[in-house]
């Protein structure tokens, strides 16, 4: 049986009582309260000019928004307390685990997926929901879901580079742009259709990945990050300024939607078709990425992330391994670029800013670097939540930034940590049986 990690309401109350009954805990809590009070005072000071004062330089008026002090004080106090509580809990858990010498447990989702009794029903349930989704809800909902599915693929692609191979690529959006523009331009000049452009966009992006990767991949991690960031910006600036080539900031419009054996489709139908297309692509991506991760190549990527020098000393050609990771990551971005162009029927450079790379990075980091299930969950949370909670969508980018910081500090392995394949050997060596997960 699966228990939700032993939490019932009664447990919660008694745990709360226990928390206060112990003298040591009381001391810790008092200290934490005092500290949080100081933290909140500091933040009131820190945010004073920007949160409280707002000037209108044209009308020469000043508005003092004193109410904001209150929000800042409460907010920082609560966050500081929660952070402290989390760290204390983490420390205690670690200590307990060390004492009991029991290995860390897998997440509930992996637990479920690993049980044959749950694995297949779950998969069937998910695919069932995915299949009827556009018919249960409006086309508008299906459209939002299509966007989320696109980000799942983007996330899985970037996950190869950042999560598995440990190469921080901040210019991932460039490959996305290359895919989108290759469809837009090929269609504009040569009337190439969607299905022909799809592989071309992907391969072109992969090619650019190799071309960029070749010189920069011998750089150390942090330099690689900033060079890829620069590369992403260069691509965007070129698209913006080279009017003859890319039509500049006004972009390219009237890009055809994907065709389906020449059948005429209404807008609604086209959107639903797009949705199913993305479902198919997501399944393909999961299949391919899963196999890659658990292959000779995938192991080499992981080893590269863990220790570059040891990896080389074990006979792995690190340049080649990095290049394949880069190219494969870029490939998915290129594919989604083509789909993006077809979905919106319009591309311009403004869609491909650094913030786009940051969103995809946030998806990978939130979900769990190296974890396929995690990345899917991350994409769904980060793309769907701001869509459905319209009130929050203003704070979207603020939250993404905060997520990147908070995840690194509190849960670097992500919501759902990646798992490694396990093997069981029955007695002698020849009976090695493989057991898959994810």
């Amino acid at each position: 049986m699966i228990t939700v990690k032993g939490v019932t309401p009664i447990d919660g109350i008694s745990a709360f009582r226990r928390l206060f009954s112990c003298k040591k805990n009381k001391k810790i809590i008092c200290k934490a309260l005092k500290r949080s009070l100081l933290v909140s005072l500091w933040f009131v000071f820190l945010t004073f000019p920007i949160m409280v004062i707002k000037v209108n330089p044209v009308e020469r008026t000043v508005s003092w928004r004193w109410g904001n002090i209150f929000y800042v004080a409460i907010g920082s106090f609560v966050i500081s307390l929660l952070a402290k509580a989390w760290l204390v809990r983490k420390e205690r858990l670690a200590a307990r685990q060390q004492a009991a010498a029991c290995p860390a447990r897998d997440s509930i989702i992996h637990d479920l997926l690993q049980r044959p009794g749950y694995r297949y029903p779950l998969i069937i349930l998910f695919s069932g929901v995915a299949l009827v989704f556009p018919h249960l809800f409006s086309t508008y909902q299906a459209n939002i879901m299509t966007t989320a599915l696109m980000y799942i693929v983007l996330g899985l692609g970037l996950n190869i580079v950042v999560g598995v191979a440990g190469l921080l690529d901040l210019g991932y959006v460039a490959f996305y742009a290359i895919g989108a523009y290759s469809y837009a331009l090929l269609n504009l000049h040569f009337h190439l259709g969607f299905w022909a452009a799809l592989p071309i966009g992907g391969l072109l992006a992969a090619l650019f990945g190799v071309l960029l990767g070749f010189p920069v991949l011998r750089l150390r991690g942090d330099y690689l990050a900033i060079v890829t960031l620069g590369f992403g910006e260069i691509i965007r600036l070129i698209l913006e300024n080279w009017n003859a080539f890319s039509k500049g900031p006004s972009g390219i419009s009237n890009i055809p939607r994907p065709g389906f054996f020449g059948v005429e489709m209404s807008l609604d139908q086209a959107m639903i078709y797009m949705y199913y297309l993305m479902i198919g692509l997501v399944i393909l991506t999961i299949f391919v990425v899963n196999r890659l991760q658990h292959s000779r190549l995938g192991r080499a990527w992981l080893a590269l992330r863990e220790d570059e020098i040891a990896c080389q000393a074990m006979g792995i050609d690190k340049t080649r391994i990095k290049l394949t990771a880069f190219a494969l990551g870029a490939f998915w971005a290129g594919l989604i670029g083509v789909i993006f162009a077809a979905k919106t029927t319009f591309v311009n450079p403004a869609s491909f800013t650094f913030m786009e790379s940051a969103i995809i990075l946030a998806i990978v980091v939130l979900g769990g670097m190296g974890s396929i299930v995690g990345v899917i969950l991350g994409a769904l949370i980060l793309i769907l939540l701001p869509e459905y909670l319209r009130a929050l969508s203003e704070y979207r980018m603020l939250a993404f930034g905060a997520i990147l910081v908070a995840m690194m500090i509190f849960k670097p392995e992500g919501l759902i940590a990646g798992v490694r394949r396990t093997y069981c050997f029955q007695g002698r060596k020849n009976a090695a049986a493989l057991q898959d997960d994810e």
Binding site: P103, V288, R291, L292, S295, R296, L297, G298, R299, A300, L302, A303, E306, D307, I309, A310, C311, Q312, A313, M314, G315, I316, D317, K318, T324, L328, R420, R421, T422, Y423, C424, F425, K429, N430, A432, L434
Partner: protein, 267 residues
Amino acid sequence: MMNKRMNKPILDVSGLTMDFGGIRALDHLDFDVQDKEIVALIGPNGAGKTTLFNCLTGIYRPSSGDIQLVCPETGEQTRLNDLKPNKITEKGMARTFQNIRLFSRMTVLENVMIGRHCRTRSLILGAILRDRRTREEEQETVNKSYEILEKIGLAGQVNEFAGNLSYGAQRRLEIGRALATEPFLLLLDEPAAGMNPQETAVLVALIRQIRDEGHAILLIEHDMKLVMTLSDRIVVMDYGEKIAQGTPAQIRTNREVIKAYLGEDVG
């Protein structure tokens, strides 16, 4: 344990020099390793032993001198000076690290499987399609890696994360990982460092077994008892120079060596 090909070394180092800025870490070093031989490299701290390892394995590029590796089976001779570390491993020389460098968030088995990387071929398409050849190769990788784990006594912990192993087990896993690359020469950088006597005893037996299975071993070690019981030959370094070489018995009585260790009891 001397065999007939005594005068045909598998590793031949001559005039090896390494400068860092103005500091000469290795000074015209000459030595060789024969097939199926255990050679120990000793010397006080800072004598340049690890620098030598880094030069041999391509992590540093030596300033001058010559490193030749000869495959005992094919007789193929390679100059290692300008090769990348991974090429050198492919040629048949693998190493361990003084400060353990395992892939700690990968499993024990996977660590060894990484060593098989340069002896296997499957690529992107193979990984995606998982065709017959890839499956067979993967199965072989698993089997051979498991065999190695049995040999180093870690078969019970295949699915454990490498970072969770005990210290001695981690050192043995480093050896196992290097063995998986099928080297004819194995470089061990302080394999017994930090081990307790029981662990050291297991290690000595393991190194002997590895040699008996046909590998030559070059090792850096501070544990003199281990060096004296295990090695066929000893090379002594000080300040980047070779100050002596010979059998354990010869080294025990060598004045230069005793002086370098400042009267330390090497018996």
